[in-house]
Symmetry: D3
Subunit: 131 residues, 6 copies
Amino acid sequence: MATVSLLSDEQLTPEARAVFDDIRAVRGAEFVNNFWRALAHDPALLRATWERLKVVMAPGALDPLVKEMLYVAVSASNGCEYCAHSHTASARAKGMTPEMYGELLAVLGMANQTNALASALQVPVDDAFKE
Amino acid sequence: MATVSLLSDEQLTPEARAVFDDIRAVRGAEFVNNFWRALAHDPALLRATWERLKVVMAPGALDPLVKEMLYVAVSASNGCEYCAHSHTASARAKGMTPEMYGELLAVLGMANQTNALASALQVPVDDAFKE
Amino acid sequence: MATVSLLSDEQLTPEARAVFDDIRAVRGAEFVNNFWRALAHDPALLRATWERLKVVMAPGALDPLVKEMLYVAVSASNGCEYCAHSHTASARAKGMTPEMYGELLAVLGMANQTNALASALQVPVDDAFKE
Amino acid sequence: MATVSLLSDEQLTPEARAVFDDIRAVRGAEFVNNFWRALAHDPALLRATWERLKVVMAPGALDPLVKEMLYVAVSASNGCEYCAHSHTASARAKGMTPEMYGELLAVLGMANQTNALASALQVPVDDAFKE
Amino acid sequence: MATVSLLSDEQLTPEARAVFDDIRAVRGAEFVNNFWRALAHDPALLRATWERLKVVMAPGALDPLVKEMLYVAVSASNGCEYCAHSHTASARAKGMTPEMYGELLAVLGMANQTNALASALQVPVDDAFKE
Amino acid sequence: MATVSLLSDEQLTPEARAVFDDIRAVRGAEFVNNFWRALAHDPALLRATWERLKVVMAPGALDPLVKEMLYVAVSASNGCEYCAHSHTASARAKGMTPEMYGELLAVLGMANQTNALASALQVPVDDAFKE
């Protein structure tokens, strides 16, 4: 039902296969999800996307769970079905509890509400907020 | 430049004034930003929005800084100028360092990128991600 | 500050001028707003947009004020600064009171909030809602 | 297929059950749709969302059908599948005829079209539209 | 699963039938896709949409394949499932190769990424970019 | 007015300076626009964004002008003021004529219109469009 077929491991080019090997190594899991199987038709795009994702989601000044929750919030605001599912699952795997998820949803709802109000009212930015 | 005038303290109805008093008490600051001054034309909407925001952004399973960063991420994805400014300022006031902001931006950019790719490709949700 | 210059009446091609004449006749006003002055660089696009808008916004099963409020709600959800301003002004000209605007904002905020929640949760559509 | 299970009446906590009772009482119907069954995992979020929705959608300066049509327009602009279905069904239950729906769709399409044009052209707001 | 039934040829009004005849003539194909079958409930909206689409997508200063790829990019950014599928199919029918599609996806992802960054940072427009 | 200061050349770290040098070399111009001056606070994010953009926008199966027009269309749909300005300027620098821009706007408007209609109607994808 994607706009391209989802490639099985056997259908991968060697370049795509190398990316899949790295995904498996970094995640410590055999499972490679459909997003990568769709992107694998273009090995250069697959590689660039994975290499960047690996860096961005690694521990840093923010911990990986916070990063994953940010990803969920953005994905829901954008209405991306696949992304909402995959990143909610990832956030849970990284320790998101039902209480944390409930609060994430509350902030998400509130932000979308006040974003719409501010856009409708076209509120001018306070001088105090300007850099 | 808003679609309504921004009300000064002197122009507030008693009901709106009571909400402003609470904003000041909760925040421990005299400053009340333009968003509330625009909403104050409709005291019931002002009150409902503030009362809910106060609950949603309070400490809980997620700490207030994480909540504020979620708010920034959603606001930027929605392209809300006012909200990007006000919530970035709030996140900084709650301790967001330049390093944390840089990582938030990186996750935000990545999420919007892969959301668009998943939407273009219409990737079907993996069974493993379904509840 | 637009990506094109805003054409004055003197700069219009005859085809664009004819559209401006019709805008003035239909609205019964001399004022032609900037949106049309930007579109006037492409008279065919100008004409097609105006001709369709004229039909869509005319009285029908919905009255023009309801149509204008729908326009405001969509424009705010999309974060369009120009459109929020111009259609809020039009709605007022057609009779939108402060009370009506307050309720429109409340519905707008609520809809954006629950849209985000439904997208985050990926709630499946009830059979009862299917045609 | 939601990111959480849909709770049956038997699975509700007492607090969530009380909200469901109120939904049934207000609507005068036994049916409680999936959105609430997903939210019920977080009774506080369920209650806050329902209590606000009840107030916002009640008759006021705008009649409930106009409010429901505003909801449909926002939901469609945001691309929310669940919301498009549920609020279109609600609008019909409140009296939206096929003619009204057709005009709503026409305004929705027009607004999204001109929003995009104004954003592409970055048309500056006319002084006449400023408050 | 649409919010309206999809009309078969037998269910069309004469006005809707005339539009279907023109769709078939212009495309040189018997197949009429579901979008038109849903719109056909409102023959005036059906006609206006088709007549405009026919003009907009015709060869001009941009070739039809470029126009179709622009359509795919917008549809994916908007998260429109139906549109992503239908316009990707159309683009392929007009000659979009896998290499072209891969590059389109790369630009789409990049644009959504930098759009989000510019919105988060609220970067002021350089004087050099102003008309 | 950005959420961060715009760094002058003198304020750059050596790593950021190296990226600016490459931007200037690739573009054959001294001018470095504000987007990069805002991103330069985080040299790693600056580098990653620039390195990827350089690859994505290079000539390939699609020519650079088509890529730039795709960028404009996405930016306008997302309502990004900065991006609409900067990429429209880039498209013109790469040869976009007023006629091409007019057609791009027409497709952009049409796509946003039919995206909204398809989302409102929740049209099911035709089997013929499935991969």
